[in-house]
Every structure is written in structure tokens, then in C-alpha cells.
């Protein structure tokens, strides 16, 4: 099969060559006929001569061009190799830098204040903690415009956000954020303490823990011993300073068997 193909291919090519030769023959015969006319022959010869001349010129020119191209390609390919190794190390260092930068961005949350750039401005995230326990986070979405505006936020309504922003937002944004931080951390801490009191000291509490949403006013009844016949005490804790987690006023009333405590609603 293949042999036949090659034969036919060869046949075709031979046919091609043969046809070509035939053409040349006819041309030669034609030219021979023309040679019988000396004038036209001469003219043709000179025309052909000039044509060859031109062709030679063009060929030389193209030869030179190709040489140049090849040289430049060679040069650029040899240049690529060392650059390419540079590229790898460059890419490695880029990646390392990128990872480091990303890590640092993550690390900002440990300062208590971190943020993410938004199309409008920045969304600041304030983290809270108490005695090493990481607690809730709150966010404030700021619009970077003059005047600076709070787009929206997750700050509880009983934190005096308007007051703080009226004082500091326009003039000293760092102070605004850290003051807000203070209030939120204090609130978080008070809330955490109240929650823990309720859960961890349930046995000591003689009734429910009463508190307000700011957790700066707590009142409860407790016993000195979980079991036994000790008399209950009524405690009232007031945290006047909203930026602290320690109460400013503590009232403890002790009653015998009579009803006395004004803040407790049970017998």
C-alpha cells in the first residue's frame, strides 16, 4: 500500500517535474524561435540580464535581513535564560512579600482595631476582650467624604455613639476609634462578668440577676453559702463610668427575716 502511495507520489512529482521540463522545453523552443529574430532576442537578453541583476540585489538584501533577524532572535533567547531565573526568584520574593503583607493585615485585629477598605471608605472592626477572653466584635462602616460619615454600624444603641462621634469623628479619627473601643470593651467586660455570675454562681444566687442592657446596673440576691441557712444579701452594683469594668457604687443590704431589700422583688 505504502509502496503504491510512494509510487503514486513519486509519479505525481515526476509528473510535476515532467510537466516542468515540458514547459522549459517549449520555452526554450520559443526562445530559439525568438533567437532567429536577432533584435528582439538581444532586447530580451538585456531585459533578462537586468532582471537577474535586480533579483540578485534583492536576494542579497534579504539574506542580510534574515541574518540580522536570526542574530537578534538568538540574542533575545539567550537573554531570556538568566532573566527567567531572575523571574523565578523575583516571583518567590513577591510571593513571600505577599504572604507577609497578608499576615500583617490579619494581625491588626490583635490591636483591637482593624479594618478593610471598601469602595466608600473603610469598614472598621473593633474587637473586645475581658481578662484575656476574646469577646464580641463590632463594626463601623465609614464613608470617606468631607464630612466623614458613618454609613452603618453594629454598635448597640445604648453606647453613646452620637456623642462620641460628635466630639471626635471629624477632628481626630484615631481618638474617635479608641474611645469607642474603650466603651465597647467596658460594656463587653461587664456583660461577660454578669453572664458568668449568672452561670457560674447559680448556686449562690437566690433569685434572677437583674440588669439593664448596658450592664452597668446589676442587682441580685445571694447567699454566702450555697446550701444552708445563711441569710441572703441584696447587692446593687452601679457602674457610673461607662469606660470601666469595675463598679463605682456598691450597695449591699442585709436583711434578717423581714422584707427589706428595695431592689429585690421576692420575699
Amino acid at each position: 500500500m505504502e509502496l503504491a502511495n510512494t509510487l503514486s507520489q513519486d509519479g505525481e512529482s515526476r509528473g510535476g517535474v515532467l510537466a516542468h521540463l515540458e514547459r522549459l522545453e517549449t520555452q526554450v523552443s520559443r526562445s530559439r524561435k525568438k533567437m532567429e529574430e536577432p533584435q528582439s532576442a538581444q532586447a530580451e537578453e538585456s531585459a533578462l540580464g537586468t532582471r537577474i541583476h535586480e533579483l540578485r540585489r534583492l536576494r542579497d538584501k534579504l539574506r542580510a535581513e534574515v541574518k540580522q533577524h536570526q542574530a537578534s532572535v538568538k540574542a533575545s533567547t539567550t537573554n531570556v535564560e538568566p532573566d527567567q531565573t531572575l523571574e523565578i526568584t523575583e516571583q518567590e520574593s513577591l510571593k513571600r512579600k505577599w504572604e507577609n503583607v497578608k499576615a500583617i493585615l490579619q494581625a491588626y485585629r490583635f490591636t483591637g482595631i482593624s479594618g478593610k477598605l471598601t469602595s466608600r471608605g473603610v469598614c472598621v472592626c473593633i474587637s473586645t476582650a475581658f481578662e484575656g477572653n476574646l469577646l464580641d466584635s463590632y463594626f463601623v462602616d465609614l464613608v470617606m467624604r468631607k464630612p466623614l460619615q458613618i454609613h452603618h454600624h453594629s454598635i448597640p444603641v445604648f453606647i453613646p455613639l452620637e456623642e462620641i462621634s460628635a466630639k471626635y469623628l471629624q477632628t481626630n479619627i484615631q481618638h474617635f476609634l479608641f474611645t469607642l473601643c474603650e466603651y465597647l470593651n467596658a460594656y463587653s467586660g461587664r456583660k461577660y462578668q454578669a453572664d458568668r455570675l449568672q452561670s457560674d454562681f447559680e448556686a449562690f444566687l437566690a433569685g434572677p440577676l437583674q440588669r439593664n442592657s448596658l450592664c452597668n446596673l446589676l442587682s441580685f440576691t445571694y447567699k454566702a453559702e450555697p446550701e444552708g441557712q445563711s441569710f441572703p444579701f441584696c447587692a446593687r452594683l452601679l457602674y457610673k463610668d461607662l469606660t470601666t469594668t469595675l463598679p463605682t457604687d456598691v450597695t449591699v443590704t442585709y436583711q434578717g427575716k423581714r422584707k427589706y431589700c428595695t431592689f429585690c422583688s421576692h420575699d
Binding site: 533567437m35 532576442a41 530580451e44 533578462l48 532582471r51 537577474i52 533579483l55 534583492l58 536576494r59 534579504l62 539574506r63 534574515v66 540580522q68 533577524h69 537578534s72 532572535v73 533575545s76 533567547t77 531570556v80 532573566d83 527567567q84 523571574e87 516571583q91 513577591l94 510571593k95 505577599w98 507577609n100 503583607v101 497578608k102 499576615a103 500583617i104 493585615l105 494581625a107 491588626y108 490583635f110 490591636t111 483591637g112 482595631i113 479594618g115 478593610k116 477598605l117 472598621v124 474587637s127 476582650a129 481578662e131 484575656g132 477572653n133 476574646l134 471626635y168 484615631q174 481618638h175 476609634l177 479608641f178 474611645t179 473601643c181 474603650e182 470593651n185 469606660t243 470601666t244 469594668t245
Partner: protein
């Protein structure tokens, strides 16, 4: 003629071939980066990485500007951060679907002129209902150590493992320091002969003298203290230096009560106005008499925050 014809044909063929050779590789003078790019495309080692490379650069730039912004927003620059995680989940815990992880963090940076280095451990316990994160250890190294008020504060923060309080108080402390520096500098510039700063602008004392009345000096000591809760409060005191003769002439005991009166004045006028009035008082020809009205308020309640 035949030979010429043949030559002509040969030349034509060569020319066509040469033309083809010219077109394929890029022409000289064009960017070698294109070649590099095609090489890059054919490079197979980390094809995904190569695509990232261009995006990486622009993304890196964006992240770096975000850090710059955060550092301006908070006043705290974090230079280095690393973290190691250790899984402490035991097989019993996994059965109860509880996960326990200990993270060791290392953080360093600066807040204006104060550099810090922190190392802390964070214990994360995840059970079905909630995730609890607790800082179980905190160690802080701070420079410069010339702010003696800070060393006590640092040990307190370490004890309470209160990382956020550390940064908050650090910020307010630095803010007050900067305000004190600005105020002292301003007065020094306004009254160059009267005002004397012993340790330069970052000193905690400002001396007021009158060159024409040697022997008299008022020294204002401005300390910045951090209390147990991490609250930063300025504490200003007045010290008087007066020649013995003047003391003998002082029947009303003005010099003696000056420190208390100073505190009263602070509460009424604020820091800057008080200092200015003191400077002016030493320069007047008339003798200033401190009126001793009601006793001064004890302690420095929350004074207003430093103006921007």
C-alpha cells in the same frame, strides 16, 4: 539565455524562501518582553504561579496601601507578624467533636516613638455550640525605656493578659505625650527667654523664669500616668523655687498654696491657658496674688482629651 533563465528562476526561489524566513521570527527592535512572555507561557514548572505573578504585583500593591491606611487610621504600625499553630485535640475530644488549638503569635511594630514586641498565646476551644478564644500568655517588650511610667503599665497588662487594653492605653499615652511636646514647644517658641525645657521638647518639666528676676522659678511637672484600668491621665504639678527673702515677705502664704491653686486653675482654664497665665504672671510688674478661695479639688479627674 538558458543559464540566465535558470539563474533567474533560482534567484526567485531563493527570494521567496528568504521572505518566509524574515516573517517568522519577530523583527528586531520589537520588545524582548514579548519573547520573554512566550517563553513564560511555555514554561511549565508553575503555570498557575506565572499567571498570578502579574496579578500578585498589583494585588501586593493594593494590600500594602491597605496596611498603610490602617497604620494611619490606628496610629500603630505592625512591621512583622508570625504565627505557629499547635493542635491539642485529643482523641477523646474529637469523639465529642471538640477541637482545641494553641496558637503562638509574635508581633512587632511601633506606635510613633515607642516600639513594641509582643508574644502571646491564644487557646481556641471549639465545641458544638461555641468557639472560645482565650489569651493564655502575654509578654511585652517595649522601647524606649525612658518612659518609666510605661514599665509598670506593661507588667500590669501582661498580668491581666489584656492585649487590647495595652494598645488602647499605648495610643492614648502617645497622644498625650505628643500633646505635651507640642504644648511645651509652642510656649518655648513664644516665650524663648522665660521658658526653659531641661530635657528638650520631650521633657516632662517646663521651667518658667524671668531673667530680670533671678532666683524665682516656677516648674511645671507634667506626668502622664496610666492607672490600673488602663486609663491614661495627665497629672500636672507646680513646684516653686523662691529666694528665702521672698518667702519671708510672703505673709499670705501664696507660695505655699501655689500648687493647690494651680490645680484649681487647671480645672477652670485647662492646661494651656493655665500655663500661659503662669508665664505671664512672672512677667508682670504687678505682683500676682493667688486668691485662696475654696480648697482645690482633689486629684485630677478626667481632664479633657488633648486637642488635635
Amino acid at each position: 539565455m538558458d543559464s540566465q533563465l535558470v539563474e533567474a528562476r533560482a534567484l526567485e526561489a531563493e527570494i521567496t524562501a528568504l521572505r518566509r524566513a524574515c516573517v517568522e521570527p519577530p523583527a528586531p527592535g520589537e520588545d524582548t518582553s514579548r519573547v520573554r512572555k512566550s517563553f513564560r507561557e511555555t514554561y511549565q514548572a508553575d503555570s498557575e504561579g506565572w499567571e498570578l505573578s502579574k496579578d500578585l504585583r498589583s494585588h501586593l500593591g493594593h494590600l500594602e496601601s491597605e496596611i498603610q491606611f490602617l497604620s494611619t487610621l490606628t496610629g500603630i504600625s505592625i512591621r512583622h507578624y508570625s504565627k505557629k499553630t499547635e493542635d491539642l485535640t485529643s482523641t477523646e475530644m474529637t469523639e465529642k467533636s471538640i477541637k482545641k488549638v494553641l496558637q503562638r503569635h509574635r508581633l512587632s511594630g511601633n506606635c510613633h516613638m515607642i516600639t513594641f514586641q509582643l508574644e502571646f498565646q491564644l487557646l481556641e476551644i471549639q465545641n458544638e455550640e461555641s468557639l472560645s478564644s482565650v489569651i493564655t500568655d502575654l509578654s511585652i517588650i517595649m522601647e524606649p525605656t525612658e518612659y518609666s511610667e510605661l514599665s509598670e503599665f506593661v507588667s500590669r497588662a501582661e498580668e491581666r493578659r489584656d492585649l487590647f487594653m495595652f494598645f488602647r492605653s499605648l495610643h492614648f499615652f502617645v497622644e498625650w505625650c505628643e500633646y505635651r511636646k507640642r504644648t511645651f514647644k509652642r510656649f518655648k517658641e513664644k516665650y524663648p527667654e522665660a521658658v526653659h525645657l531641661s530635657e528638650g521638647a520631650s521633657s516632662s518639666c517646663m521651667g518658667i523664669r524671668n531673667p530680670s528676676r533671678p532666683g524665682f522659678e516656677l516648674v511645671i511637672v507634667w506626668r502622664i500616668q496610666i492607672d490600673e484600668e488602663g486609663k491614661v491621665l495627665p497629672k500636672l504639678d507646680l513646684l516653686t523655687k523662691v529666694p528665702l527673702q521672698a518667702l519671708e515677705l510672703d505673709k499670705n502664704g501664696v507660695i505655699e498654696t501655689a500648687p493647690l491653686s494651680f490645680r484649681t486653675l487647671l480645672g477652670v482654664l485647662g492646661i494651656e491657658a493655665t500655663l500661659e497665665s503662669l508665664i505671664k504672671s512672672l512677667h508682670t510688674e504687678r505682683v500676682m496674688v493667688f486668691r485662696q478661695s475654696r480648697p482645690a479639688r482633689t486629684g485630677n479627674r478626667r481632664l479633657p482629651s488633648p486637642p488635635p
